[in-house]
Amino acid sequence: MHGLTWAMRTLVLGALVCTSSAFAATPAELLAGYTAKAGSAAQAARGQEFFTSKHGKDWSCSSCHSATPTVQGKHASAGKTISPLAPAFNPDRFTDSAKTEKWFRRNCNDVVGRECSASEKADVLAWLMTLK
């Protein structure tokens, strides 16, 4: 009985850990995923260009994240401080695939007026990963 309880506890704990870390990732893993989906190698320089340019709307990515996102940014309308986006300067960045996808979806809609392609995401992430 005691053994069974332990087995069940272990199972439950395992399930909890798995649930909470189902989207855990590293920036390199996310980049590999986007690159595979894009079907071509990511280009950091193209990512920087994409990040710092406007795409027919009011804001660029750098409007809130700053053109060099190794430092804090500031939300263009809400004014709230945004922690650095470059993973080397903020270890929390690009460690959760669901969170990464959520923000790409929202922010690409604000900046580009549509979702970003896998290739665009790969380029931007590749550039952010070069910032040390």
Partner: protein, 172 residues
């Protein structure tokens, strides 16, 4: 109990309770006066973790009691176009946060009025508390303030639901 963000938990609420207990008819005159002078420390509701996490990614997690349920419902139904930005969320999060907001929305008389554009900052109580004599127009324009939505510029503990007016520090 009604969700009242405008009355302080301390003496103001104790006073209201006493009045209620003794059934003094004077209460009808007294309550609005409390609303005017009392602070918005409020009956603080612990924030739902997903509400805090999702909403405070961009702005202070505004207390649920600052808007009536109908206003929150419209905010949550329109997250794709949220005051100029896409704040869309997955369905499960929308459902969870909407339910919590509905349960904790403001029901106190002053908050039950639905403000234009579902904006807290256009509520009658907000405008009165931040009227020209209290917060001059030029203060709002300071870079350190930026927007009336930036509660934390002056209410340092806004993120903890503390809007006590004695702790207000207006930045230069």
């Amino acid at each position: 109990m009604k969700n009242r963000p405008l009355a302080r938990m301390g003496c103001a609420q104790a006073a209201i309770k006493k009045i209620a207990i003794y059934g003094v008819t004077l209460a009808a005159y007294w309550l609005p006066a409390v609303g005017v002078h009392a602070d918005s420390g409020g009956a603080r509701v612990p924030l739902l973790p997903s509400y805090s996490q999702e909403c405070s990614a961009c702005h202070v997690a505004y207390p649920a009691g600052f808007l009536p349920a109908a206003s929150w419902q419209r905010v949550m139904a329109g997250l794709g176009k949220h005051y100029g930005t896409d704040a869309s969320l997955d369905e499960a999060s929308v459902r969870e946060i909407s339910g919590w907001l509905k349960a904790n929305a403001g029901t106190y008389k002053r908050v039950s009025e639905e403000p234009p554009e579902n904006r807290i900052t256009r509520s009658a109580w907000f405008l009165r508390k931040h009227r020209e004599g209290e917060v001059p127009a030029h203060v709002w324009k300071r870079a350190s303030v930026g927007s009336p939505a930036n509660c934390a510029a002056c209410h340092a503990n806004a993120d903890k639901g503390n809007f006590n007016e004695h702790e207000v520090r207006i930045p230069k």
